[in-house]
């Protein structure tokens, strides 16, 4: 199954705005995308509650996974959002 490893770019981690943006990106893909912390369990990247519950911090490595038509493009799109620094005002 296609996977991407990405380092979380936002200092606050996948909480607040960065988590919300990730979930929005995942929800707009044609295939389901799941996310895990390195060596952790995968959860639905379209669920804000599950994503925040991962407690991924800035600098942590996370793995994205998707399957089906357009999986690679979906992973690229979501990975970009994870890698970017979304912290406001910093």
């Amino acid at each position: 199954m296609p996977e991407r490893s990405v380092v979380v770019g936002s200092t606050v981690g996948l909480h607040a705005r960065p988590a919300a943006l990730l979930v929005q990106a995942a929800a707009s893909q044609p295939v389901p995308v799941s996310i895990a912390k390195k060596d952790g369990d995968f959860v639905d990247a379209r669920s804000i509650l599950m994503v925040i519950g991962l407690d991924a911090r800035g600098g942590d490595e996370v793995v994205l996974r998707a399957e089906g038509d357009g999986a690679d493009a979906a992973l690229d799109a979501v990975a970009t959002v994870v890698a970017e620094n979304h912290d406001s005002g910093k």
């Binding site: 705005r17 919300a20 804000i48 509650l49």
Partner: protein, 554 residues
């Protein structure tokens, strides 16, 4: 004529308006058992969740900054597909709809609580979402900030971050809470918004919606149904104070000319410009944690030097007191193994980390010294969590070795205050951190809202320790300052000066009121007020005695 009730004043200013009460969270009706039509129940739940999401989404886009970020994420939660799956599962187990919704939120709440730290704090946000959804389902008033259609004084048992994030300062003229303390979320927020506020006012439960009150955020008094003369008096007083504040400038001193340095606390790089622009004699407390907290690896000496140099540049010609790293307890570092501590506030934190990681302190001192040598700020350093004279002397020796001339001790552990003579013999000055000293003196966790009264900086036991330390300073000829919330309360500032404190460090916005109040009192008057405060049985009485006896115009 009305009567007067009182609470703990946390944000100064005068407000007169009718009160409006924050609607309480809806109660959960008894579980009426399985829903006859589960599909319809799911649809009903989704409708309520969407309504809640829409409202929060609108609030998120109407605000900005960190509050907006939290609201934005929160507004997505009701539409979370995992939540819908949980609600369906709970309905299928035979729960009634309100119980299925509460049960589903509860599953995620438990997961966040189990994760601890930042996530555990978010658990309260889920409670808020749950309450809103239940209110929507049951057709009850939405919990949260009321909208009576005119400016009002908000009364609540306590305020959640989600409530306060959206406070409209044109509508909410004042805040009264029944719970909370001087260090609570409400207090900090009200101060930053400039809304007069009183917390821990248990009598506020009896206030009826629409009753006009006169709130005095300086004294903590609330006059119910004030007379026109009382309103006029209070307003004139507030205007007089505002004029005096606008005119005040220059170094702090008492009415008889005894200098008291007025300094600012500085904790994050983005505060630097505003702090440097304030009319102060320098920085009384530069917190250095910001350099470390977000880091995955220790910052290099060069990196640190650059950060300190920016501060010293901004305060060129003024004094800057740098506190070395105060990590551990509520401020863990990612690149340090703090181990597991049952009670981290009593554990290996602050200076105590030096034994495990000596290079952290030597790197920091080297960086501070390098930055200090480049500019002409008067750079002092001090160590947090010192408990014994030996620790103070060892720290001072290390700082001197790095070429830093003035090295002192934070006094935030009662042991250091009790042995202040010996502590000051081995170093150059002391700075009292009233928040931590209060926590350790009263054995009351700073994060524990229920214990707010014990953490009140007016506690006579705390003032007694300040007195001991300040007297030791006088005897040894070394300066003793106060940095912390206590210094920003103009009335308490008089008491601290009366106890012998020679500098006060506070938020930049608090300086004018302290300067004006101080200038209206002689040192002898301050000493009298200090004596009065020490005779009090508790914090409320101390504040009352001093307030009645002072000729404070603040």
């Amino acid at each position: 004529m009305g009567n007067t009730i009182a609470g703990t004043p946390v944000s100064t200013g005068i407000a007169v308006a009718p009160i409006a009460r924050l609607a309480p969270p809806p109660g959960l009706p008894a579980d009426s058992g399985p829903e006859a039509d589960i599909a319809a129940a799911i649809e009903n739940a989704q409708r309520a969740l969407n309504a809640v999401a829409d409202e929060l989404g609108a609030r998120a886009s109407a605000t900005s900054g960190p509050a907006s970020d939290v609201l934005f994420a929160q507004s997505m939660m009701p539409r979370d597909p995992s939540l819908a799956i949980q609600i369906k599962a709970q309905l299928e187990q035979g729960k009634s709809l309100p119980h299925a919704v509460t049960g589903a939120f509860g599953v995620f709440r438990a997961a966040l609580e189990a994760a601890g730290g930042y996530l555990a704090e978010r658990a309260a946000d889920l409670d808020d979402l749950n309450n809103r959804t239940i209110a929507e389902l049951l057709g009850l008033p939405m919990p949260g900030i009321p909208n009576p259609g005119h400016p009002f004084i908000l009364v609540a048992s306590d305020l959640a971050p989600a409530d306060t994030a959206m406070l409209d300062t044109k509508q909410v003229l004042g805040i009264i809470t029944e719970l909370g303390g001087p260090t609570s979320h409400t207090a900090i927020l009200a101060k930053s918004l400039g809304i007069p506020a009183i917390v821990a006012c248990s009598d506020a439960t009896a206030l009826v919606d629409g009753t006009t009150v006169l709130l005095d955020g300086a004294s903590g008094k609330i006059r119910i149904e004030p007379s026109p003369a009382e309103i006029e008096g209070a307003t004139a007083h507030a205007e007089q104070l505002a004029r005096a504040l606008a005119k005040s400038s220059g170094p702090g001193k008492t009415a008889d000319g005894v200098p008291v340095k007025l300094l600012v606390n500085l904790g994050a790089p983005h505060e630097l410009d505003a702090a440097a622009a304030a009319d102060s004699e320098g920085v009384g407390l530069l917190r250095t944690e910001f350099l470390y907290l977000s880091k995955v690896t220790a910052p290099t000496v060069a990196e640190q030097t650059e950060s300190y140099a920016r501060v010293f540049d901004a305060f060129s010609g003024r004094k800057v007191v740098v506190r070395t790293l105060d990590a551990g307890a509520d401020k863990p570092l990612k690149f340090v193994d703090h181990g597991h501590e049952e009670n981290p506030a009593l554990g290996v934190r602050g200076l105590r980390l030096t034994k495990r990681h000596p290079e952290m302190l030597t790197d920091q001192l080297a960086a501070i010294a390098a930055a200090a040598s480049k500019g002409d700020a008067d750079v002092w350093v001090m160590a947090p969590m010192v408990a014994t004279p030996r620790e103070a002397a060892e720290f001072a020796a290390a700082a001197h070795e790095h070429g830093l001339r003035t090295a002192g001790t934070m006094v935030e552990v009662p042991a250091a205050a009790l042995r202040a003579h010996q502590v000051l013999e081995g170093c150059d000055f002391a700075s009292i951190g009233t928040n931590d000293l209060g926590q350790y003196t009263m054995a009351a966790d700073r994060m524990q809202g229920e214990l707010a009264e014990l953490l009140d900086p007016w506690q006579p036991a705390l003032l007694e320790l300040v007195h001991l330390t300040a007297q030791a300073g006088k005897d040894t000829g070394k300066p003793v300052g106060v940095c912390g919330e206590a210094a920003s309360d103009p009335l308490l500032a008089l008491v601290l000066v009366g106890l012998g404190v020679t500098s006060l460090s506070m938020a930049p916005s608090s300086i004018p009121a302290v300067r004006v109040t101080l200038a209206a009192h002689s040192l002898a008057q301050c000493s009298e007020l200090a004596k009065l405060a020490l005779t009090a049985a508790d914090a409320a009485e101390a504040r009352q005695l001093v307030s009645d006896a002072s000729q404070s115009i603040a």
